[in-house]
Symmetry: C2
Subunit: 295 residues, 2 copies
Amino acid sequence: MNWEQELSAKAEVINQALDRYLPDADSQPALIHRAMRYSVFAGGKRLRGALALAAAEVLGQPPEPLLPAAAALEMIHTYSLIHDDLPAMDDDDLRRGKPTCHKVFGEAIAILAGDALLTLAFGTLGRLQTAGFAAEPVMRVVVELAAAAGTDGLIGGQVVDLESEGQAIDPDQLAYIHLHKTAFLFRAALRTGGLLADADARDLQALAGYGTSFGLAFQITDDILDLTGDEILLGKPLNSDLANRKATYPSMYGLEQARRLAEAQVNKALHSIACLGDSAAFLIGAARYLLNRQS
Amino acid sequence: MNWEQELSAKAEVINQALDRYLPDADSQPALIHRAMRYSVFAGGKRLRGALALAAAEVLGQPPEPLLPAAAALEMIHTYSLIHDDLPAMDDDDLRRGKPTCHKVFGEAIAILAGDALLTLAFGTLGRLQTAGFAAEPVMRVVVELAAAAGTDGLIGGQVVDLESEGQAIDPDQLAYIHLHKTAFLFRAALRTGGLLADADARDLQALAGYGTSFGLAFQITDDILDLTGDEILLGKPLNSDLANRKATYPSMYGLEQARRLAEAQVNKALHSIACLGDSAAFLIGAARYLLNRQS
């Protein structure tokens, strides 16, 4: 299996887990459950979940029992997309080639579907205990995900992103947004895998460093794709950052320099996990994939 | 101390805990932290938090170490109010005598402040371990609150409430809304106190039964106050349910019958905890207070 096939295999088991953990589409109240499933299954590469599984595997922990954690990461990611797309936020109509949640279900249900996915993410972590983990490491994951998703993570990044729209911002503010909006959830994904594999301090730091650099590189390449990508592959119109008056790496540094900065972060990610050796093959492949991603 | 004074004393320590746990108003990004604090400290009786503390006290557990759980319950309650008040939901301008969160901070920040309080609630539960609780009961509380706040609780109630606006609904649907929107979070508050006091199955059932009946009685008396209360004491205009075309107990059963139904739930609540004896004095006082509440 090449890296893309490995990712697909991981995404497949994560999707099956999500399907088991999400309430049935016809269980009452059906409207909210349909909305949650619509957005969760509207596509998505399951990178955060897959990286959490892979981080644990590097340390010899089989991935299967970690599926609730991988699913929780994807629920949090999906909730953040639903709320980001709302009219009061970025007001986006398309996501992954499909109408956004509020376009299909209305604003009220979209807000509640996001709320419900965030809530369910924490509830789903309880399943890690059924899968055999002690309460102690599971609580560490609860705290980890709450921190990464809170105002010193995802939400903080979104606030500064909104405040910066149409403003002249400096490189520090741009780095703040990308770190908080994107990189910290990737770091939490890697650390989640580590925490559940009982990683020692050195390995946890290696995984965290990889996660942060990977996340930054992911966001820079996302910015680049928004300018140079294929609309069909991306599932959304190009230049949406320009339309939303967002500061991006290409707009601040130019396309070529942005590419070099992405490459530097990829190298930093690879350097972080050099100590983990060959068992980190999936993580190495993931970092390299960023430099050639098409969507 | 009479019951009101006891409640005030409990509310005071819960407020101090919330002040410690919420990010400082001037920590970055300040706007979201100010919005979170604005809504959390806009008033509120801290009934859910106080009942969690009281439930533990009934079983001989000192309340102090439970403060993170009490604060988490109040964060979840506040998040649900912020999102309920949004233009896409009930579109309310006033809450507890003050402009609602989105009126002061705008819609985007209000959505994110709600998200952040929900997220922080789960993060705050991690503090229970610092306070001396083992991870095992803390994880039970995580799962309990996620269930009570999810689509089979708070959010489910809100969805059916929204769907029912201006519709002719039957008594079962009305009971569904009140149970899910209000009673289940009270039940979770009581169970949280029980779980952290290592309650046996009988006591946990007693507390849960009390919480459900208390919550229903609370919501029925809320409906009644919306018609007959004092606008100054309530901090919002009367007849908001009529304006929002909400089905309520008085609109379905008439005022007198609604009062009798509230009384019946109060008696049911008292009956549930009869087995707990005199140590349940605060819970008994809380149930009786509902029949005379002015706000």
